[in-house]
Symmetry: C2
Subunit: 260 residues, 2 copies
């Protein structure tokens, strides 16, 4: 499953939403569902394609769903829940998914936490949308492994070497609204590195490292759409280097994180 040697510097890429994936349940074979939906939509999966999969269906396939009525909130969760105006069971689940509480903004109902993987995000990714009433979804336990499993399954079924990105929706401290980012990756380096390359004046570009997996996740979101049940997109024509690196390597080290 080597992904290497694709021609770099393509000038034309295509982002194709894959509709028709049925409601995903715990234990479902996501790689197979994706391949079947691609076939049904006459989308050919090819070597070098990048398959972007919404965290939500990955979590569902991995049984990462909690019924809130079965959660016993701690005293800390109850107090925090009252202060930020959330349900205490939901806050309990968020705390169980967190290493740390980073910011609490009571008047805005905002809880920024560090997830067990190390990502800083709202509510540790615990989410009530697109799941049955009374339930929440959790992030996958190891999104990089989730991505790898989907990638290997697609390879088994099609013989094609693709990269997989598990994407999630994320806020930014200084900009309004959300964008999609890469939560888990397999078969692609997280970064495209311009360091050591000359700019058009022959000067070396010193600090330009693009987190292209986040840009690919954002590009995919444009055709995915939360409300219209398109949880998968395939990106064609983008050149990248194969890699075993993980999406957790995008996390800013704590000592350099100016948000903390």
């Amino acid at each position: 499953m080597s992904v290497a040697g694709y021609d770099r510097g393509s000038l034309r890429l295509e982002v194709i939403g894959v509709p028709g994936i049925p409601e995903v349940k715990s234990g479902d074979d996501l790689g197979k569902l994706i391949v079947e939906a691609a076939v049904a939509n006459k989308i050919s999966i090819e070597d070098g394609d990048i398959v972007v999969v919404s965290q939500k269906i990955v979590s569902k396939s991995e049984g990462r769903i909690v019924k809130l009525s079965e959660v016993e909130p701690s005293e800390f969760a109850k107090n925090l829940a009252t202060r930020i105006g959330k349900g205490s069971e939901e806050v309990e689940v968020i705390l169980r998914e967190s290493n740390a509480v980073i910011r609490v903004r009571c008047n805005q109902g905002i809880l920024v936490t560090e997830t067990k993987h190390g990502f800083l995000m709202a509510n540790s990714g615990v989410d009530k949308s697109n799941v049955m009433e009374g339930y929440v979804t959790l992030l996958p336990e190891d999104p990089d492994s989730s991505a790898r499993r989907i990638r290997e399954r697609i390879h088994e079924l099609t013989g094609k070497d693709v990269a997989v990105i598990v994407s999630d929706t994320c806020g930014r401290p200084c900009r309004l609204g959300l964008v999609n980012i890469a939560l888990g990756i397999s078969g692609i380096s997280p970064f495209r590195d311009y360091r050591g390359k000359p700019d058009q004046y022959g000067k070396m570009l010193k600090v330009t490292v693009m987190t292209h997996v986040d840009e690919l996740a954002s590009a995919a979101e444009l055709v995915m759409g939360k409300a219209r049940m398109v949880p998968v997109a395939i990106i064609k024509g983008y050149s990248y280097e194969g890699s075993d690196e993980k999406a957790t390597s995008v996390i800013m080290p704590e000592e350099s994180d100016m948000f903390r």
Copy 2:
């Protein structure tokens, strides 16, 4: 120049880099250069296309270049420059472009400022890359107006209604590496709003506002490339709503900005 009524919810979009734009000088007609390069590359500009233009060539066309040897640094700039390991003339230019200094990290040489437009970014966007040795580029004075002028010029030359995004490269506090964002926009709303739309379980999505102009800028970056002189990309097949809103409306209000 109304941009409205495009079919929403496209499942396939294309991102096309436009090479062959010559070195841009102060006073150059950027709209014309873009149209000519598109024609030379057999890329047809159509109604509803989104033209993404790198901030760098916008700044150059607007003469936003400073020769460092002509800058007289203040005492504050000299002190700050010594502490963070930059040239005092460069720091002076950064300060002149700033409303406020938000973070200084001496050991990493990082200076996060609020630009005069209100954006929080490194060095107020003052940049030494892709410009002659001894010079720096500044951000456009009003990137939304820059986008509007390019959009109007493309309309004059082609009769087509496009949206324009002036994109820039930006860091994130909690994630390593850079992504492109929208610094200026014209003819497109900055946000795609899912509020009030039902999710697949019929529950209303409450807080999902996607900053799709940032995602479009990121998608465009994937074909643009700093080192290979592709400062423009055209996105085709993405449905959006026309709007007079500005990219400055994406700035997190100071009282809600958890980074400050």
